[in-house]
């Protein structure tokens, strides 16, 4: 995982609630056995016309949002299935930050495993950010994870809360499994106890 560094990037606006993982990456693209190459399929059914051309109506196809790394979206983003293909597609497309009022649990976890910072803001903050983008498409925000701060040209900046463990992992780009395996002696000890307490699980 790439360490997450402070950046100034275009913020794209997706003013929709309950964006589900079936929209983020439709099921026909879940058959691949690789982890890469999903970006081209991100939001496929909304993004492309039936003939495969870009749907000009779809917000992320706006020229002003090209190269955006920040996605500002409505509440309950990422609801639906557990498919990690959703954050894979988001990251592969180029986003490394999402800002919304809420996320579905599994999606939220999956983001942090893939270097994506999912920021939670209040409804009022979201409304202000959305209004700022709508008034000035192509506007750039600065995201500073170390100081848990977002700044915007119109002064809608804010600081956000994030679990320090997630913050640390994103900043360092550390592998979760390696971290857990530092506790392998505790896992071993737990298993010894587990076998005594629940022997029927081990036959």
């Amino acid at each position: 995982m790439q360490p997450y560094t402070k950046h100034e990037s275009i913020a794209a606006l997706m003013n929709r609630s309950n964006v589900d993982t079936d929209q983020i990456i439709p099921k026909q693209f879940l058959k691949k056995v690789e982890r890469s190459g999903f970006g081209v399929h991100l939001f496929h059914d909304w993004r492309y016309n039936d003939d495969g051309s870009d749907n000009a109506e779809f917000e992320l196809n706006k020229p002003a949002f090209k190269g955006a790394k920040i996605l500002v979206a409505g509440d309950n983003f990422g609801c639906g299935s557990s498919r990690e293909h959703a954050p894979w597609a988001i990251a592969d497309y180029g986003f490394n930050t999402i800002i919304s009022t809420s996320y579905a649990d599994i999606f939220y976890n999956n983001c942090f495993k893939n270097g994506i910072l999912a920021i939670i803001v209040s409804q009022a903050q979201l409304d202000a950010l959305m209004a700022e983008i709508a008034a000035n498409e192509g506007v750039k925000f600065i995201v500073d994870l170390e100081n848990r701060a977002v700044t915007t040209p119109a002064g809608n900046g804010f600081t956000f809360e994030i679990d320090p463990f997630r913050q640390g992992n994103l900043l360092s780009g550390l592998d979760d499994i390696g971290l857990t395996l530092k506790h392998v002696d505790k896992i071993d000890a737990y298993e010894v106890k587990h076998k005594q307490s629940y022997p029927w699980l081990w036959v």
Binding site: D20, D45, C79, I106, N110, N114, W200
Partner: protein, 465 residues
């Protein structure tokens, strides 16, 4: 301190809880299918790690498998490769796999309970959001992403944040025509698809106690559609009876030992929940979803809502766009909605009880002109049992197709799908845009409601039949 069932399971599975790090919890059972596992195996291989406890894993093939012409090679080459990769990965790592040819094959969340692989008090994970199904046994069961699948394979643990607890109390008695599916939909209609976010739901009350194990599985299955991490039902005599004698259930003296433990699991009387929701079962009419989110659901005897009936701007907009996508007009009766397709199956409603209740309605009827109706058993064992009871004949005589097991039209990955604009009465769990095929329109219902719609060509209130 009085504890909820969730807290008891959490506490007994805590492996590491140190400052500055997410708590690590132990995983007893790991379920797998072909779609969310290949990249995890690849990651394991690249890092030179091994599967820590192969015996904790049970795998199947379900999402991409064809439901007809199973003898032929899978025509979709990418899907075929995914299936082959699953077989190779399981062989290489010594995992128990019910492959496409196995008599035990079927949808993971239907197969696992059939073999008694999940018991009360366990922590169960799967790279699949509908893992919540197994909460029906009083197990903490939840969906994880592929990175987490790899994590569990390598460490048998998972970093987790402790969830909040929600009690959903369903009092009274369900009407004869309403089912666990209707309870699940009514709850989501009430609290919304984000209503349970950050929570583990415990379902309780007389209406829940009265449900069969199959019904409890249907209910817990859709906890995820309410946004919850997991759903739980306290184990009781029905749970023990269901498990007793199953392949992976404890035997002899160990059964007694396990039983004593299981009986200690239900929430203590007076344990406190962070959130409490109460419903009256008698008020729950057979439900039909009208929109593109499971929370957009209403009783069959009601009308399609108008956007202005919502007091919140977001919901108004969501209603407008859902009605446009679904091709419905505000205030039209639900029973006027004509359908083109009917799908009975999935991890939500693909168990024997579901086919019995649908067959009861389908018996002696004929599928309406212009309607395609398919029945997809959740597993080969369900199929076999249904055939033993003659249910297949009832469906076939009524003009339905009787298929091989798989996820099929629940997510339409295997080629079973709607065409643009087609409308389906479906017993599955999600009515998202394009879920059953691009441009397809999904209405979530119970099996009996689906069967009634198949015969009429539109939704009908089964209470009036």
């Amino acid at each position: 301190m009085k504890k909820t069932m969730y807290e008891k399971i959490w506490d007994s599975h805590l492996v590491v809880d140190v400052e500055g790090q997410a708590p690590l919890i132990y995983v007893d059972r790991h379920l797998m299918h072909e779609v969310t596992s290949p990249q995890a195996f690849e990651g394991l291989k690249i890092s030179g790690r091994k599967v820590r406890n192969p015996h904790s894993i049970l795998a199947t093939m379900d999402h991409c498998v064809p439901t007809k012409n199973r003898d032929l090679p899978i025509a979709d080459l990418i899907a075929r490769k995914q299936i082959e990769t699953m077989a190779e990965n399981c062989l290489e790592n010594g995992l128990n796999l019910y492959d496409m040819k196995s008599p035990n094959n079927g949808v993971i969340h239907v197969v696992v309970p059939e073999h008694g692989f999940v018991h009360p008090g366990m922590v169960v994970v799967c790279g699949d959001s509908h893992t919540a199904t197994h909460g029906a046994f009083g197990a903490l069961a939840f969906g994880i992403g592929t990175s987490e699948v790899e994590h569990v394979m390598a460490t048998q643990t998972l970093p987790q944040k402790k969830s909040k607890t929600m009690l959903v109390q369903v009092n009274g008695e369900l009407s004869k025509y309403s089912t666990a599916k209707d309870i699940a939909l009514a709850i989501i209609g009430k609290i919304g698809t984000a209503g349970g976010t950050g929570h583990v739901i415990e379902y309780a009350g007389d209406a829940i106690k009265a449900l069969s194990m199959e019904g409890r599985m249907t209910l817990c299955n859709m906890a995820i559609e309410a946004g919850a991490r997991a759903g739980l039902v306290a184990p009781d005599e029905k749970t023990y009876e269901y498990l007793n004698g199953k392949e992976f259930a404890p035997k002899a003296a160990m059964w007694e030992q396990a039983l004593a433990y299981w009986k200690s699991l239900p929430s203590d009387v007076g344990a406190e929940f962070d959130t409490v929701i109460t419903l009256n079962a008698a008020d729950i009419a057979p439900q039909v979803s009208w929109g593109t989110s499971p929370e957009q659901v209403i009783g069959v005897n009601a009308n399609v809502p108008a956007p202005e009936s919502f007091d919140n701007e977001g919901k108004r907009k969501a209603c407008e766009s859902a009605l446009a996508y679904m091709g419905l007009t505000p205030n039209m009766p639900i029973t006027d909605i004509k359908i083109d397709y009917v799908f009975i199956g999935s991890c939500t409603n693909g168990r024997i009880e579901d086919f019995r209740s649908a067959a009861e309605v389908a018996k002696g009827t004929t599928v309406a002109d212009g309607v395609t109706a398919i029945v997809v058993p959740g597993s080969y064992h369900v199929k076999e049992q249904a055939e033993k009871e003659g249910l297949d004949k009832i469906f076939i005589e009524a003009g339905w197709e009787w298929r091989e097991p798989g996820c099929s039209m629940c997510l339409a990955m295997n080629g079973d799908e709607l065409s643009k604009g087609q409308r389906c009465a479906s017993t599955s769990n999600r009515n998202f845009e394009g879920r059953q095929g691009k441009g397809g329109r999904t209405h979530l219902v119970s099996p009996a409601m689906a069967a009634a719609a198949a015969a009429a060509g539109h939704f009908v209130d089964i209470r009036t039949l």
